[in-house]
Each structure stands twice: as structure tokens, then as C-alpha cells.
């Protein structure tokens, strides 16, 4: 490209017509225009040319039916939308796609089953001992046999006549019982039984 000389006075004239000169440039150009009738003629020519060019913009282009053009454009867009929708639908309902989807779902179900059910794979819960602790009222004649009682030696003054309680414990159950009488407040004696 051969670049115009930006200091070319005609370039300045065009920029002047486009309103792109700053105040200093415009003042300088106006002074030159005042002194140079030839330059004024050039400015007039460029201005007239610009007017002619601008006229081309509004000039109707012969033979164009814009309503028809718009209808054709919208029809083409509609066709495109329909085609893309149909393409998506065909992709989703394609037998191969369905088979693939079914296989994928089956694989996923198997994988989930393995993770959940496989011992040690899915972190299945390890059974832990359970302990039932209940607090029951003492019974005078426990059905179970008491094989022995243990209490700390330094608690000799603990009243041992309190029988360990029993709440439906089957025979043979080892019962650990501890409790205390409520002599002071007169409440029934209680014991805690651990089966």
C-alpha cells in the first residue's frame, strides 16, 4: 500500500471535513485557506465529493423487494432452526445412541453395586458389640443366680444387702450391678444393671 503523506495538505482538508482536526491544526489550516484560493477550491471539491458519496447511501438499489428479502431470510432461519432441532432429536433417538445409553447405565449400576456390596471395597460397616444399659428398679428375688459380688475393699461399709436387680435377664446372664439405697430421702432403692 502506498500510504498518503499525513502532512499532505489535502489529507488535512479531508480531516477538516471529517471534523478530526484539533483546534491548533484547524486554525493553522484556516489561515492557509484564507491565503490560498487554490486550497479553498480543493476543499470545495472534497466537500462536493463527500456530498455525492453520501447520496449513494440513501440511493435506492433498483429492483430489490425488501419484504421478499426479509421473508426469505426468516424462512432460511426457520429452516435452519428446524434442521438443527431435528438433528438433535435424531441423535437422541438414534438406536445406536439408545443402546449406548443403556449399556452405560448398566455399567454404572454394576459399578455402584460393587462399591456398595463388595466387602471391604465400599467400606461396609463392621459389626460392633452392642451394649444395653438399663436402669431398673431392684427386685427382691432375682431369678438369675448370683455367682459373686465384687466391690472395692475400701468400701466395706457399703450396704451389701442390696440385691442386684434383674429385668428379664435370662438365667446364666452375668449381671454387674451397682447401686445405692435411698435411706435418707426415703425413695425406693435403685440399682444400675449392665447385661
Amino acid at each position: 500500500m502506498t500510504q498518503p503523506d499525513t502532512h499532505d495538505v489535502e489529507y488535512l482538508l479531508c480531516r477538516h471535513l471529517d471534523g478530526q482536526l484539533d483546534r491548533r491544526e484547524r486554525r493553522a489550516l484556516e489561515q492557509r485557506l484564507e491565503a490560498d484560493p487554490g486550497l479553498r477550491e480543493q476543499l470545495r471539491l472534497y466537500g462536493a465529493l463527500d456530498g455525492l458519496l453520501a447520496g449513494l447511501s440513501t440511493e435506492a438499489i433498483d429492483g430489490i423487494d425488501y419484504d421478499l428479502q426479509r421473508a426469505e431470510i426468516i424462512t432460511a432461519v426457520e429452516r435452519k432452526v428446524l434442521l438443527s432441532t431435528e438433528r438433535r432429536r435424531r441423535l437422541v433417538f438414534r438406536p445406536r445412541f439408545l443402546l449406548t445409553a443403556a449399556a452405560a447405565m448398566l455399567l454404572m449400576a454394576v459399578a455402584v453395586g460393587v462399591v456398595v456390596l463388595w466387602p471391604g471395597v465400599g467400606g461396609a460397616p463392621t459389626p460392633i458389640a452392642t451394649m444395653d444399659i438399663s436402669r431398673v428398679a431392684p427386685t427382691p428375688r432375682p431369678a438369675g443366680q448370683i455367682s459373686g459380688t465384687v466391690h472395692p475393699e475400701d468400701l466395706d461399709d457399703l450396704p451389701l444387702d442390696i440385691a442386684p436387680s434383674r429385668a428379664a435377664a435370662p438365667a446364666g446372664t452375668i449381671v454387674v450391678s451397682f447401686g445405692a439405697p435411698h435411706e435418707a430421702d426415703g425413695a425406693p432403692d435403685e440399682a444400675v444393671v449392665v447385661y
Partner: protein
């Protein structure tokens, strides 16, 4: 740039069209089809080619609405599509004509068609007032590609130079130079009739 007439703003229409409202896109078509056709026609000098390009441009615009970051600037964006498509169309057309060995020349802007007689002293010598625009259109057609595009988009379609620079992939200064070079040539050709 075409000023938006009364009615929903471009951004609003673009967002509605994105939601699938085709009537909103139809309003955009109605709003910009004349300008798009004029730009394509000035760049291609063929009504039929311009119509094809404009239809392609609107289809492409509809396809890519989601990529339009500033919906309010639909018009400038569309003109950029029109300009680029016109340029591609013109190049393809020139290649086809060269392939058919139809008088290839040293200046591909003509593609061997309607080249003015280089020895003619003045292209507007015998022009009546009514023919002036036709001669001017032909003279514009004869300009080098970048000059023609810059002139059409700036001096005829009144697009901002920044947008033209974006369209043509050059600097704003380059746009100014192209426009000036084109004006200077046309001024020399038509000086006796201005």
C-alpha cells in the same frame, strides 16, 4: 450506522432472539436489511451477489448471536459480518473469473470485469447528471480493495472509523489513509464535475 427506529432496542431484541423468539430477530432483519444490502452492493457491485451475501450474513448472525458480547451493538456487528462476507465473496468471484481466463489483470480489484478504459481522459467526461452516480459507483468499484471498503464504510455508510478498523483488521490511522487515498483518486477523476 442505521439509527434504531422506535421500538425495542437492539439489545432487547437480541436477547429475545437468543431465547428463540424468531419475531424479535425478524425485527432486527427489518431494521438492518437495507443498510446491509447497501453495504454489500457497494462492495460487490452486483445486486444478486449482495442479496446472497446479506442472507448469509443474517443466517450467520443468528447462528452466532450467543457470541455477541454487546447485544446493543448488533448493527455494527452485522455490518462487520456483511463486510467480511462481501470481501470473501469478491475474492472467490475474482478467482472464478481468473480460472475462466477472463482477462485477468494486474489489479485484482476488478477481476477483469467492467475495467474502465485506462486511456480515457476522464471517466465522467460524458456524464449527465443522472449518470454521475453510476459513474461514481463504477469508479469506486475500480479502487483497490482496502480503499474501496474503507470509503464505502466510512464515506457512504458513515460507520465510525474505529469499527471500520476492526472490520478490516487494520489501525484507525490506516483507515483514514485508505479513505483519503480513495477520496483523492475520485476527486481527481471527477474534479470537472464537482
Amino acid at each position: 450506522m442505521a439509527s434504531s427506529p422506535a421500538g425495542p432496542a437492539d439489545g432487547e431484541l437480541v436477547r429475545a432472539a437468543r431465547r428463540g423468539e424468531l419475531t424479535a430477530f425478524e425485527v432486527l432483519v427489518e431494521r438492518y436489511q437495507r443498510q446491509a444490502t447497501a453495504v454489500a452492493y457497494r462492495l460487490l457491485s452486483s445486486r444478486e451477489d449482495a442479496m446472497d451475501v446479506v442472507q448469509d450474513a443474517f443466517l450467520k448472525a443468528y447462528d452466532r448471536l450467543e457470541t455477541l458480547s454487546q447485544p446493543g451493538r448488533f448493527g455494527a456487528w452485522l455490518m462487520r459480518i456483511v463486510s467480511n462476507l462481501s470481501l470473501n465473496f469478491r475474492r472467490a468471484r475474482a478467482l472464478r473469473r481468473m480460472d475462466s481466463l477472463e482477462a485477468p489483470g494486474d489489479d485484482d480489484s476488478w477481476g477483469g470485469v467492467n475495467r474502465p478504459d485506462p486511456v480515457a481522459p476522464d471517466p465522467a467526461a460524458e456524464a449527465s447528471a443522472g449518470e454521475m452516480k453510476l459513474l461514481l459507483a463504477r469508479a469506486i468499484e475500480a479502487l483497490p480493495e482496502m480503499q474501496r471498503q474503507a470509503l464505502v464504510l466510512f464515506s457512504i455508510e458513515k460507520l465510525p472509523q474505529k469499527e471500520i478498523a476492526d472490520m478490516l483488521g487494520c489501525s484507525v490511522e490506516a483507515v483514514k489513509w485508505h479513505v483519503f487515498a480513495a477520496r483523492k483518486k475520485l476527486k481527481e477523476q471527477f474534479k470537472d464535475y464537482l
